[in-house]
Amino acid sequence: MATFSILVTSAPFDSQGSNSALQFIRAAIESGHSISGVFFYQSAITNASAWQSPPADELQLHQEWLALHQAGVPLHVCATAAARRGILGADEAQAKNLSGTNLQEPVLASGLGQLMVLLNSDRLVQF
């Protein structure tokens, strides 16, 4: 059995990348492998947004990620890449005097250093 780290760099909905990552992770877990973590970077940071509201007949990707977290998969997003694109955690929201935030636990606002920690796995697969 192996451990995988997953780097997602493509935008949800605008690209199939997030869907592919989801299906790959599910298949890996079903085969008994473990996922040391998922890291959202570049335009994939929208995956971290708790506010995604697609029409009812479309996949709510954020909910699917939360389900994976329930299954033990840590979720990280690059805080800098996210803030650039308007996804703000509690600290950033407070700094801007905002009453809400669209980046919430269990998704963690992390630095790129966290991705370095995730490299300590058998395979890194990018989507």
Partner: protein, 96 residues
């Protein structure tokens, strides 16, 4: 041994040429997402290059999603479960 993941349509992007240029004899190539349209390229120069190689795979789910069903025998059809296995058969994975 590197497993190359090709995502873009070879009719629109030149990623296919770049990945092929970097592939050794023992490397593999998985056609996924829009790259599965490569199946429709029988008359294209890159199709012959694919044909001359070992280790060409295609993701079944992505074919089915797009209404493609005919696959020549030199390309091996894999599902997500086999895709996971492939990433362990090879030493590294590069995404195009």
């Amino acid at each position: 041994m590197i497993l190359h993941l090709l995502r873009s349509s070879p009719f629109s992007a030149l990623d296919i040429a770049q990945s092929l240029a970097l592939m050794d004899q023992d490397d593999g190539l998985l056609l996924m997402q829009d790259a599965v349209y490569a199946l429709q390229g029988q008359d294209q120069p890159w199709f012959e290059q694919l044909q001359q190689r070992q280790g060409i795979y295609i993701l079944k789910e992505d074919m089915q999603a797009r209404g493609l069903s005919h696959c020549p025998s030199f390309i091996e059809q894999v599902d997500y479960s086999k895709f996971v296995t492939l990433t362990l058969t090879f030493d590294q994975v590069v995404t195009w």
